[in-house]
Symmetry: C2
Subunit: 352 residues, 2 copies
């Protein structure tokens, strides 16, 4: 795929002066992985919000959101444009950035299970893709005289090995998966290129997102959404871990809020690092089912059956169950207050 | 430079069976950056030692040491071969590895000042070069059915920002220089590829090496060698920092010993990380001059003149002055006992 193709064209821009237009009136946004679940939610939230803050701290209306992905994304809003392309292909990424992108949300990634099975694919998308994107932002910024903002979704998988509970902000990157190693490399690139002024980056280590809409997938964490989503649709669900197991969660709604907040922060909020452990909710799986019972009743909650799968339990139990997230909280990022709120948000957002 | 060129050919190998030869009788070593100060010292130490342990834990004589660098390295020993090539060029690196390399010492790097001035060069040599080398080792191992050992010199520059004193093993990678970021990326690649069994890597974060022979260079740390080396040659030397400033040092002799020890350790010595903070000596600059006085007398020590350079002092004072190096010590790595020993080792090794 050597050339990115526009599937939906936005209306012609009205300003005759791209430079003045960018600084004085509007913001153009690129979302990589824009066709994914979080990318589409982020796009909808940005459209609803309608404006973003530029590098000078000025709020401007959003003129265009470009969704870049390997598959097309249907959209009705004239401000939204769908582009297909390869994140590791410099030409595709340059086309996606164009001459007038102000901000990038970099969500495109090969997920953890796939990156572990296919090391080379993970390196290509998660490492090369991130580097290609950051270098293209650097080139754009150099030609235009500013540092594009880049909001990058990193992962708790950058941590591993013996971990304190909760994990403090000052803890080594010690990934025990290729996905985690690749995300850590992305963070290092983003941090150093921000320090050099090539870009203005922010990396968010997101908790496990729950409740995800849609269908179960092969991720070890998939059941954390299934045990809420399936019962609310009248379906049975298997919980493969002990009720006492603790996990670190964030609702899609809060994830999007924190991504946008990270964009809106001034660069001066960051001194030695652009990497942030995003606050989450530390909760036992049994408490998740109890919250489902409280919100939706016994009939729904009784659809969850505990049936241990030691392979899944071993993986999920190896993940950190809580973080202090001191820096993230100081920046204003917020976790969900309790799991019942997460269930209610899912009902409001996905089950209307 | 598309093709590495052999400058000095070793004698023909006597075995008719490369496989049996490798496993049963000899070890072949590649040193990248083999023409540098540490590379040449390492080569001499390996020749003197004469043998290394293979991946099975068996000690075998060293049949060949290949010195790979951008410039040729003269050598008289028939076991040593000099190759010139580009560490970021896959063809050059494959030629350097050949079909029968058992172990690689990866010392080739763009140094800190240069990596900061020329970001792209640093990325090319320190990141791409390391990745090309590790991938070539993976390909060699896959075709031969073993995991080549790779000993990588990383740096304390992977740390930065506010640091505890001493820095514990459990401390985040937070580089504040492109050199540090690039070395940290190299560590992540080496760790993940070791975890996957592609290679058998070990990354050593070396203290500042002192006393370096030769001439001063433009590194901020250059004076740490100059204030010992120049007076011992009857020359004046300027110390640009306060006598009370503490630094973290290791003699070249101990650095080489620790690199070889890292090679000899079994893979089972490593669980969650292959990265090691190498033990060093934490010493005040004033104590260094006093040790010079004790070893070589007043006339020599009086050649050192204190004349502050705030730019240099700011850089050097930002470096960590001490580490617990708990893991490195547990592996058997050793620091120099005191600075007088370092001065005496320099006199023995370089001033005969």
């Amino acid at each position: 795929m050597g050339q990115a193709k526009a599937l939906f064209r936005p209306p012609e821009r009205t300003s005759c002066c791209a430079f003045a237009d960018r600084f004085l009136s509007t913001m153009n946004v690129l979302i990589t992985g824009g066709g994914g679940f979080l990318g589409r939610k982020l796009c909808a939230a940005l459209l609803k919000r309608g404006a973003l803050t530029d590098v000078e701290g000025q709020l401007h209306p959003i003129a265009r959101i470009r969704l870049f992905d390997v598959v097309p994304t249907a959209t009705a809003d004239p401000r939204v444009e769908s582009l297909i392309g390869d994140i590791a292909n410099t030409d595709d990424v340059r086309v996606a950035l164009g001459e007038d992108t102000d901000s990038v949300f970099h969500l495109a990634a090969v997920v953890s299970g796939e990156a572990e099975r296919n090391f080379d694919l993970g390196m290509r998308v998660n490492v090369d893709g991130t580097r290609v994107l950051l270098e293209a932002c650097r080139a754009l910024g150099r030609s235009k005289g500013y540092s594009p903002k880049v909001i990058f979704t990193s992962s708790l998988a950058v941590f591993g090995g013996p971990l304190p509970d909760p994990v403090p902000d000052e803890w080594p990157l010690m990934p025990q998966s290729s996905y985690g190693a690749q995300k850590a490399i992305g963070e290092l690139l983003l941090n150093d290129m921000s320090r050099k002024g090539f870009i203005d980056g922010r990396a968010l280590r997101l908790p496990t997102i729950c409740v995800r809409p849609g269908r179960p997938n092969k991720a070890a964490s998939s059941f954390l959404s299934s045990i809420i989503r399936e019962p609310l649709s009248g379906l049975e669900a298997i919980c493969p871990v002990e009720p006492s197991l603790r996990v670190w969660l964030l609702s899609p709604r809060r994830a999007i809020e924190n991504l946008i907040l990270a964009h809106e922060l001034p660069a001066t909020a960051f001194i030695h690092t652009r990497s942030i452990n995003v606050p989450g909710l530390s909760v036992r799986v049994g408490e998740m089912v109890q919250a489902l019972r409280d919100v939706a009743g016994d009939d729904v909650a009784n659809c969850v059956h505990f049936q241990r799968d030691e392979a899944i339990e071993r993986i999920v139990a190896s993940w950190p169950a809580a973080f202090t997230a001191t820096f993230g909280r100081a920046l204003g990022m917020q976790a969900d207050p309790d799991f019942a709120s997460i269930v209610r948000a899912y009902l409001e957002d996905e089950c209307r």
